[in-house]
């Protein structure tokens, strides 16, 4: 690489970065429905803290944490994300333990601590897609939920209802047997 080319690349990225906040740019891309790891700070603060070291993914026993390339803007390059349909979070809380900058805050692996501290997203049921709402008893999402009867409860014919306690781990979406999935987790990013 010629030095001039390199400098040009640097200037180009400077221009890209100077365009009003890459994080805002990323947030406006609703097609990218991704979660940050459990306990992650709010998006802008998270990006300011994360040093892209990759330890959260390296410690994740469920291998649910992936890393962005350039697709979500330069600001979130090499930052961790979770696509619940690919792999949900099992709330082991190891990523917060290993994170050196506390971009992912350390939360104890404890029922109360997780309920109050983790807010990755919130699950929503699409009743027109859900088998149980079509009269075919299913209940897979309820059985996949790590917080059953707290975050999700089932009514008649195993029809799922998500409560406000849902932390958005995505295990329900991962397990949903419908395609497209009837229960989906939407991130609670600012």
């Amino acid at each position: 690489m010629e030095r001039r080319t390199f400098l040009q690349a640097l200037v180009a990225s400077a221009v890209a970065a100077a365009a009003p906040s890459t994080a805002a740019l990323a947030a406006s891309r609703s097609s990218l429905r991704y979660l940050r790891p459990p306990g992650a700070l709010q998006e802008q603060e998270f990006l300011e803290h994360c040093i892209h070291c990759g330890q959260c993914g390296e410690i994740c026993p469920n291998r649910c944490i992936n890393y962005f390339g350039m697709e979500n803007g330069l600001g979130s390059i090499d930052t961790p994300y979770i696509i619940p349909r690919e792999q949900g979070c099992i709330l082991c809380m190891k990523c917060g333990e290993v994170c050196p900058t506390d971009a992912i805050t350390e939360i104890e692996r404890d029922f109360e601590a997780i309920l109050s501290g983790v807010d990755m997203g919130h699950a929503r049921v699409d009743e027109s897609l859900c088998l149980s709402f079509q009269g075919k008893t299913c209940g897979v999402c309820y059985r996949a939920c790590p917080l059953p009867d707290v975050a999700i409860y089932v009514g008649r014919l195993e029809q799922p209802h998500v409560t406000d306690e849902c932390v958005g781990c995505g295990l329900c979406e991962r397990s949903c047997i419908q395609l497209p999935q009837a229960i989906r987790v939407f991130p609670t990013r600012a």
Binding site: M1, E2, R3, F6, L10, S13, A14, A17, A18, S21, T22, A23, Q44, E45, L47, E48, H49, C50, I51, H52, C53, G54, Q55, G57, E58, I59, C60, P61, N62, R63, N66, Y67, G69, M70, L74, G75, S76, I77, D78, T79, K94, V98, P100, T101, D102
Partner: protein, 344 residues
């Protein structure tokens, strides 16, 4: 007959053991160990996920092979791989060892720039490297950096190319360019609110990319950038990225400016052969006592010196230029003219 003469035998006995000469081998060993760890850790992580899932029976033959190999490596050290192997994680950019976290000073500085605030629990993780750099200078670049491992091999490859008659670049630029890159990286981090200083920093890139390749199933954009720097080193300037562009190297050089442990030349035993200048990866001038803040104490010059005229010393600044080596012709000519001047 092949029996040694008395003189040869005497020469062998008089050659003292000089420890610093062998440090270059130790350095290559540490570089290899660091790089091997970066490769091993992602594999161990995959093995951990298999054990955590109790999934041995569901693995494909290839995955079973990986499981078995990793098990044989880890078994002597851990009883519960899924938990115990969490002790060592990360890379040279930021790692954790039994709960003790160490981060690159550039990560700390970049994070300060990105958040425009001081978050002490993280900044303190860079304390050990910073103190070590104040004492040993830019030693990270020569002794630990996983990119240095590749860059030095690349540098050797370039000299083979040159030997084969292929023209390789050997242009020289101003070494202060990298301070500009550091400043630019920090400004970019501050403007974008994201730690972008690490995006153009090869050791951080390598740590991530090895992990992506092994455990995430694909290379990232960093690999392309890194391959670009390798080409730059071959086609434009030897070790060009480290010498002229590396932002982390710039920070280490600044921190290590008044380092205590540095290399010095012993003028009395130097014969002006200039092998040190040729072998120096950072284009320094050991022959004329010119080390400066750029020297990374890699000891390549000590290892190649035929008269053991380079050694370590404890001094916050370089020796002033000591003139030609006393075993060299230039010095003898000078002495001769001084003698004749004195006689006349």
């Amino acid at each position: 007959m092949a029996a040694p003469t008395i003189n040869e035998g005497a020469a062998v006995h008089h050659k003292p053991f000089f420890l610093w000469r062998h440090l270059n081998k130790l350095r290559w060993l540490t570089l290899i160990i660091v790089f091997a760890m970066l490769v091993l850790l992602p594999f161990l992580h995959i093995y951990q996920t298999y054990t955590a899932a109790h999934a041995y029976d569901l693995l494909s033959p290839g995955e079973k092979q990986l499981y078995d190999v990793m098990e044989s490596i880890a078994a002597p050290f851990v009883s519960d791989p899924a938990e115990d192997l969490d002790a060592v994680k990360g890379n040279t950019w930021s790692g954790s060892f039994w709960g003790f976290k160490i981060s690159d000073p550039l990560a700390a500085l970049g994070q300060v720039a990105a958040s425009l605030s001081l978050y002490w629990p993280f900044l303190l993780t860079a304390l050990v490297p910073i103190l070590a750099t104040i004492i040993f200078g830019r030693f990270f670049c020569g002794w630990i950096c996983p990119a240095t491992f590749i860059y030095e091999l690349n540098s050797n490859f370039a000299s083979w190319l040159r030997w084969a008659g292929i023209r390789v670049g050997n242009r020289r630029f101003d070494k202060r360019i990298k301070y500009g890159v550091l400043a630019l990286g920090l400004i970019l981090s501050a403007v974008s609110g994201s730690v972008l200083a690490g995006v153009v920093y090869p050791p951080a890139i390598i740590g991530r990319e090895i992990y992506y390749t092994i455990a995430q199933g694909g290379l990232g954009a960093g690999t392309i950038f890194f391959l670009g720097t390798l080409l730059f080193d071959i086609l434009v300037a030897r070790r060009g990225f480290c010498r002229y562009l590396c932002p982390g190297g710039a920070l280490y050089a600044l921190l290590g400016r008044y380092r205590l442990v540095r290399i010095r030349r012993i003028a009395e035993t130097c014969n002006d052969c200039a092998k040190c200048n040729v072998v120096c990866e950072f284009d320094l001038d050991p022959l004329r006592d010119g080390f400066g803040q750029e020297c990374n104490n890699c000891t390549a010059c000590i290892a190649i010196c035929p008269t053991d005229a380079l050694t370590f010393t404890i001094r916050p600044s370089d020796y002033p230029e000591q003139g030609p080596g006393h075993l060299g012709q230039l010095y003898r000519k000078q002495q001769a003219t001084e003698d004749t001047d004195a006689a006349s």
